[in-house]
Symmetry: C2
Subunit: 213 residues, 2 copies
DNA sequence: TAGATTGTTAATCGATTAACAATC
DNA sequence: TAGATTGTTAATCGATTAACAATC
């Protein structure tokens, strides 16, 4: 397989790529230079064939009996996932969660740069958080338009999420990363990624119950 | 379909149930008493047949030409997801994210009660956060055993995640909800739910690129 | 009644897993 | 060389979507 891009990768494979990245970084730190899909599969409890198919999307070719060059895989995965390709984002809601997101280097490492933060609470506006000033949410749309911001992050309570989304859409944003436990009503040309953290409690409980049986 | 339980529901369906719940709460607040799968599907951009299959897991029977009783569906979904069935949890790592998790009522509403918080930083130990005292992480295992805690929540940096998991496992915990961007090495009888928030930036970018095309 | 909607069976689709020849 | 591992094609599996009779 030659050149692949984000769009052409099946979502299940896309979701596994960061896992491979974790493991490869770990192996590299331990001085390893090559790795086999057998090894990766065993560590991550996946099927070796599946790992081979996923890695094929990177375009990196392995050598029979040897395996894959870890460095090459890391570079290719980072490229494929767009981690080298910074996109600018606005964040709304600087409660504990929003503040945490502002502080995570991991987000920037993954190609997302939060350039401004907004809140509707006058008490929070004007504060400095991790080097960014908190602005009033009324200014979001205009500023987003002017700065050509692509992504909006919603870290408000559920009750304020729709209003935040509306402001982002008015500001020409093309994708929303939503952490509020709410289903947003947005036009279909806007991409949405819901982080259903709370909903996932049930998934964990299901797994625990399944192990029990 | 009669009685169903968490274990027998396919994971994709399980992940959609909270979405239905959101929508149904919203409709109920607007005075609606019944709803059709056609309506639900249109609002959530799903296939009506899929919605019908998902709702069948709740055991609630709809009436042709009329639809489903919203109240019945809400009760059944909450029951099925175990939201009425509190499980106790310990949390490790009281940075911004951990503190946010401690403060979210939404978590408790979904059947998970965080009964204690831990940190390795002596400066944080002893503080009171949302009504719970922060304890030294060294005490976690013993206390978990004594209190028969089932779930551990990891909200540490990636570098501290494995140690937190090890302490939890020593404490007899049966499921781990992991927010750290790390792949944990744990025995297979322990259930794990990774919240790959950071990794999902790529998923959002993929959706945006797909819309562009 | 007529027509919308349910519940269910069958068809399709896509992802995972198995099989295996090629290769270093 | 012998055997582990790759890359790929075929088989399986499960979820989604389509079709449709039953029903209120």
């Amino acid at each position: 397989m030659k050149s692949t891009n984000l769009v052409s990768i099946p979502e299940p494979s896309l979701r596994r790529l960061p896992q491979y990245h974790h493991l490869l970084v770990h192996l590299q730190a331990n001085g390893r230079e090559v790795v086999s899909t057998t090894h990766i599969a065993a560590d991550l409890r996946l099927d070796p064939t599946q790992v081979r198919k996923d890695l094929a999307f990177t375009g990196i070719i392995g050598r029979p009996k040897v395996g894959y060059q870890i460095k090459d895989l890391l570079d290719a995965i980072e490229n494929l996932l767009g981690w080298n390709n910074q996109t600018e984002a606005f964040l709304v809601g600087v409660g504990h969660l929003g503040t945490a997101l502002l502080g995570f280097q991991a987000i920037e490492d993954r190609g997302l740069k939060i350039v401004a933060a907004f809140d509707s609470d006058p008490a929070k506006v004007g504060r400095q958080l991790h080097g960014r000033e908190v602005l009033p949410v009324e200014k979001l749309a205009e500023l987003a338009l002017r700065m050509h911001i692509q992504i909006g992050i919603i870290a408000t309570p559920a009750s304020a999420a729709q209003a935040a989304a509306d402001a982002m859409i008015a500001g020409g944003i093309r994708g929303i990363w939503n952490f509020a436990p709410a289903t947003l009503d947005i036009p279909e040309e806007i991409a949405i990624q819901n982080e259903n953290m709370f909903a996932n409690v049930a998934v964990l409980k299901k797994k625990m119950a399944a192990n029990q049986a």
